[in-house]
């Protein structure tokens, strides 16, 4: 009964032109957020100066050449903008990976980290921070070891799930959970036997995620990988839809899901590996955004992938702004902000809307 009401009030949102319209509105909102957020920060810089730097760097206008260097230029161009641009790509990437992983394991509770990727990454980071593993890899060796840990674990999960018959969603989930707890155990073991207080704090900070380390060269690579991945998954909506119907039905509809599941897992692990590399473990957003978007647009992946990507970007920009300004002179880890703001909003929608979160069969 309640479901019917839900459907009625959202009927408009289910039609194609509306969803394209919503995408355009979100793009507009994203640009607006970018321009607004760049003026906000712990250092007080006038709006005119901020846009002066942007005009100088992006448009190369000669009238603004006074902004080409100096401390204002550095704050805007080297700190604020890289952060915002990485927020955009990471928000979009996590939201889309969340959707894809939920489809792969056919479970609405999954998030991008569920198949052990997070524990693999944190084991890598722990080993790097505590034992100095991978210091030869250069400045961001923690990120690189975390990336390798994440990627190794997803390969391992895929291999184990395929032993003794083809992998299905349940086997993947269970293999992921088992390897996940093994990795956490090794991380805890390492932490437990070390006396490095500072190291422990570093790990904690890293596990909560932060966009503070964003640098332009890394961002370029990120855009290439993440946007590429998102565009790829936008073309795959039909197969993603079928994943939710299960293997048997998909075969009768002409698609053998097995190879697609493997391919999608591989692509999401690369995407998430890069995200973890650049910003640590930003949690919850990969679960929150897909469900938030589904509340309004249903489950059809044709619609929810682009809408979620854009929503994720806008959401992460503002979460980052709040993490910078909520407590004066201190920067909160962004993961904390996301959960503190996201969870209550999520619960509100959960109570208010009649969306089933995949639970109503």
């Amino acid at each position: 009964m309640k479901k019917k009401n839900f459907n009625k009030e959202n009927r408009l949102l289910l039609h194609t032109p509306v969803y394209i319209g919503v995408c355009l509105v979100l793009v507009f909102l994203l640009v607006l957020s970018l321009f607004a957020a760049v003026t906000i920060g712990s250092v007080n810089i006038s709006v005119k100066d901020v846009y002066g730097v942007i005009a100088c760097r992006f448009l190369g206008l000669s009238g603004f050449s006074g902004y080409a260097s100096g401390s204002i230029h550095d704050v805007v161009w080297l700190i604020r903008l890289p952060r915002l641009f990485s927020a955009i790509v990471i928000g979009a990437g996590l939201a889309v990976c969340g959707i894809v992983i939920q489809a792969i394991v056919k479970n609405p509770l999954a998030d991008p980290y569920i198949l052990g990727i997070s524990s693999g990454a944190s084991l890598g980071a722990t080993l790097a921070i505590m034992l100095g593993v991978g210091t030869v890899l250069g400045g961001n060796y923690v990120g690189i070891t975390a990336f390798m840990g994440a990627f190794a674990v997803s390969l391992l999960v895929m291999t184990i799930a395929n032993v003794g018959g083809r992998a299905n969603s349940v086997k993947l989930l269970l293999a992921g959970m088992a390897i996940s707890s093994a990795c956490s155990a090794f991380s805890s073991f390492t932490v437990y036997f070390s006396n490095d207080k500072e190291g422990i704090q570093n790990i904690t900070y890293w596990l909560m995620g932060s966009l503070a380390g964003a640098k332009w060269p890394a961002i370029k690579v990120m855009y290439f990988v993440i946007i590429g991945g998102i565009l790829f998954f936008m073309t795959q909506y039909r197969t993603l839809n079928m994943m939710l119907l299960g293997d048997e039905v998909s075969v009768t509809l002409g698609t053998d899901l097995h190879k697609f599941r493997r391919l999608y897992l591989l692509i999401t692990s690369v995407m998430i590996g890069f995200i973890v590399y650049s910003s640590g473990m930003i949690g919850f957003i990969g679960l929150l955004i897909p469900h938030f978007v589904r509340m309004f647009f249903g489950t059809d992946h044709k619609k929810i992938i682009p809408v979620s990507a854009l929503t994720g970007s806008v959401f992460l920009i503002w979460a980052d702004v709040i993490s910078r300004i909520l407590v004066p002179k201190t920067e909160l880890p962004i993961g904390i902000v996301i959960s503190m703001i996201g969870a209550p909003c999520f619960i509100y929608l959960l109570v208010k809307k009649t969306y089933g979160f995949g639970g109503n069969g």
Partner: protein
């Protein structure tokens, strides 16, 4: 389009379930498979619709060996309505039916106006017009099964497999679903539990028991009181309705024999 099975065998977890079945469905026929629980009906059908791999024998669709076709190619020629369709996520009816167009789509091809027209048309055929934007999981069992039939119809296949499609449905919906199928004059192979229903709709019946075909013929030839005793260990009276010519199977419960 003709379907033929030759000495098809299949095992589940090492146990032979289907033990060498020969079966033919000619173009335009409505063929039923009946048999007690565990007789191998569903396993055989699953081999035909490629969810299971047969351990022996050959299945031919038209003049091609099923094994030589990709699942995509076979899904263009054969659609399936199975007994259980439970979706854990909220799809609308239109989205569910649209998935039936998948076998006709290339990797990067989007849905076009033709696809939507076919969806509308199939929903009309199963008398579900106007349900396009309803959430699939909020529908009743009968409505859901008719939507699944619509999805099979947009696959635009010659051949339709029904794997106990009317289980758990009220009699009204059982008849509605099968009437919809019958009207379309497709080539159909269907497994049934309900013998009265099977007798009503099928041109011919295969009777299966412990993995083998034990009888084949028209419902009148096959369904005898003796067979029901032998197969299901029940007593029944079979009469023919003089008006409609339909078979009527009345079971006699053992407490009444006194």
């Amino acid at each position: 389009m003709e379907l033929s099975c030759k000495e098809v065998a299949a095992s589940l977890g090492g146990n032979p379930i289907v033990k060498g079945i020969d079966l033919t469905v000619k173009e335009g026929e409505f063929i039923g498979i009946i048999g007690p629980n565990g007789s191998g009906k569903s396993t055989l059908l699953k081999c035909i619709y490629r969810v299971l791999k047969p351990s022996g024998g050959t299945i031919r669709l038209g003049n091609q060996d099923l094994n030589s076709l990709s699942v995509k190619e076979s899904a263009k020629q054969m659609a399936v309505v199975a007994q259980h369709n439970y979706y854990n996520f909220d799809f609308t009816v239109q989205e569910v039916v649209l998935m039936g167009r998948a076998p006709h789509k290339k990797m990067l091809e989007r849905d076009n106006a033709d696809d939507y027209r076919l969806v509308k048309e199939s929903l009309r055929q199963v008398t579900m017009s106007g349900f396009e934007n309803r959430i699939f999981s909020s529908l009743s069992g009968g409505e859901q099964q008719r939507v699944i039939l619509a999805r099979a119809l947009v696959q635009q296949t010659q051949f339709l497999i029904l794997d106990e499609p009317t289980n758990h449905l009220d009699i009204k919906y059982q008849l509605q679903l099968l009437d919809a199928v019958k009207r379309l004059r497709l080539t159909v192979l269907a497994a049934f539990h309900d013998l009265n229903i099977a007798a009503m709709y099928c041109d011919k019946l295969y009777v299966m028991n412990s993995g083998r075909v034990i009888r084949f013929g028209t419902p009148k030839e096959v369904l005898t009181e003796q067979l029901l005793k032998e197969l299901y260990e029940v007593n029944a009276k079979i009469t023919e309705d003089t008006e409609s010519g339909l078979l009527n199977i009345r079971y006699t419960p053992s407490y009444m024999k006194g």
